[in-house]
């Protein structure tokens, strides 16, 4: 039955080559933790992606309750954390996932650095990885404001002040981030949009490039 459905779709859309392209490639022994326990360091990238998936899923559920305006933001986070079934778990996953994602990304970057895996022909993928790192830090910075408690507010205020102290372009960065002259209602709406739409879109695009390049170039050989 399933086979018949698959064949019916495949005959029309020719989907077999697409997923075969993803599935049919050899993974070398030196990155396989089943053969060498120390190869777990090659899992950091995959685990980072795993945490990103956790972040996207938990974030989607948080967005069902979160209200991005300064009157209701704090109350809605309080509500979803304390009143909704599993709310504390979902927010906990998103909260800790943010830190764990940075940790895993950092470890993955160090693995690539210390094994010299960014060398010819993989230079471009390293640059893409650095851009992913920058986007993740941006997600961390914008997400920190959203609960709209004192910690969030003052950390963002200091962050924006630091950005504003940059010569020449500083004031423009500050206005772009704040959406006005102070950290306030506009800032929250803006950070929400950045955190939920712009930066995840950039992240997914960069991850797509990252994975396509890995598939094209293969994993770097053993040291």
């Amino acid at each position: 039955m399933l086979r018949a459905i698959y064949d019916w779709v495949d005959e029309r859309l020719d989907i077999t080559p697409i997923w075969r392209d993803v599935a049919d490639h050899e993974v070398p022994e030196h990155v396989n933790p089943a053969h060498h326990f120390s190869a777990f360091i090659y899992c950091f990238g995959g685990l980072t992606f795993f945490v990103v998936v956790i972040q996207i899923l938990s974030g989607m559920f948080l967005a069902m309750y979160y209200v991005p305006d300064i009157v209701n933001a704090h109350a809605s986070v309080n509500y979803l954390q304390n009143e909704i079934a599993m709310g504390a778990i979902v927010r906990g996953m998103h909260h800790w996932g943010a830190s764990v994602a940075i940790v895993m990304l950092f470890l993955h970057t160090l693995r690539v650095f210390f094994t010299g895996s960014y060398k010819h022909p993989r230079e471009f993928n390293w640059v893409v990885g650095m851009l992913i790192f920058a986007v993740m830090l941006g997600l961390g910075f914008t997400g920190y404001l959203l609960p709209w408690d004192n910690k969030a507010y003052f950390a963002t205020k200091v962050g924006v002040e630091i950005a504003a102290s940059v010569p020449v372009i500083g004031p423009y960065i500050a206005i772009f981030l704040q959406g006005g002259d102070i950290v306030g209602a506009q800032t929250l709406a803006r950070f929400f949009a950045l955190h939920v739409f712009f930066l995840p879109a950039a992240l997914l695009a960069l991850l797509g490039v990252h994975f396509i390049l890995i598939r094209r170039q293969g994993i770097s050989g053993p040291l």
Binding site: D24, H25, V27, E29, G159, V166, V183, G218
Partner: protein, 263 residues
């Protein structure tokens, strides 16, 4: 092709792309002479192992999530002047950098643009700055050395930022507890407290003025700690030797402060 009007259900053939043909023999491992040893197919063999690693990781992660509920502070109040701002931990090292004299004030551009800019650009351009063919860490001491030094510096800065923040929190004007009643205010301990400089910063009713509140201090500290704070000062705000009384008076004062417990 699109309409297939003659009724023949022929296979759709895509031409001119690089995808694997549907009729290609399935799952035959390619010759991977670059990686000698036991290779295996990504799907499903290797992915199964990745999932096992991910399952172990997920158990640890969910344990963390369940053990520590994320905090939600009080509603943001822009007029709150006593709140000590602190960024998320992974920005602490950048934040700490800006506290040093050589990277603050007139030189703030060093801390905001020059140092982070150099670090980020060096990282970004690492494949070209470290352009040799050699991959072993031991064979390329300069980039590996720079990275190790940077890592130590980041850890040290993060630790310093955390340490200073803790110190500031301790000497900051704390939040007033719910129950503000001073315990045993008619005892000799309070008179000693009032006679000395303590009262100037910690307040008539221990509520805290320039220093933190001492209400509930008995819950937070031991008698030895309080004696040490009286003798040596605490944090950046409380200097040593503010207490001018005798040893006996100091003992009574500490005993009295230890009575200040909150439920």
């Amino acid at each position: 092709m699109a309409h297939n009007q003659d009724g023949n259900h022929t296979q759709v053939h895509y031409v001119g792309d690089s995808r694997v043909r549907a009729d290609r023999p399935k799952m035959y491992p390619k010759d991977y002479s670059e990686f000698p040893g036991r290779t295996e197919a990504f799907f499903p063999d290797f992915l199964l192992k990745e999932w096992m690693v991910a399952a172990v990781f997920l158990v640890g992660f969910m344990t963390l999530v369940m053990a520590h509920e994320p905090e939600l502070g009080e509603l943001a109040d822009p007029t709150n002047t006593g709140f000590l701002p602190v960024p998320d931990w992974y920005f602490l090292f950048l934040y700490q950098l800006l506290k040093y004299k050589w990277a603050a004030g007139k030189f703030v551009v060093i801390g905001t643009v020059i140092l982070p800019g150099i670090a980020f650009m060096a990282l970004m351009l690492a494949p070209w700055l470290d352009g040799t063919k050699e991959r072993r860490p031991i064979k390329r001491p300069v980039p590996v050395g720079i990275m190790l030094v940077t890592l130590v510096a980041i850890c040290a800065l993060t630790w310093a930022a955390e340490y200073e923040h803790e110190l500031q929190l301790e000497s900051a004007i704390g939040k007033t507890p719910q129950n503000t009643k001073v315990i045993a205010q008619d005892e000799q301990g309070y008179q000693i407290y009032a006679k000395n400089a303590c009262i100037k910063c910690h307040g008539d009713n221990l509520e805290g003025k320039n220093g933190p509140t001492l209400i509930g201090t008995g819950n937070r500290h031991t008698a030895e700690e309080i004696t040490k704070y009286i003798d040596e000062g605490k944090g950046t705000a409380m200097p040593a030797g503010m207490f001018q009384g005798s040893e006996e008076e100091k003992r009574i004062l500490v005993e009295w402060l230890m009575k200040q417990k909150q439920q």
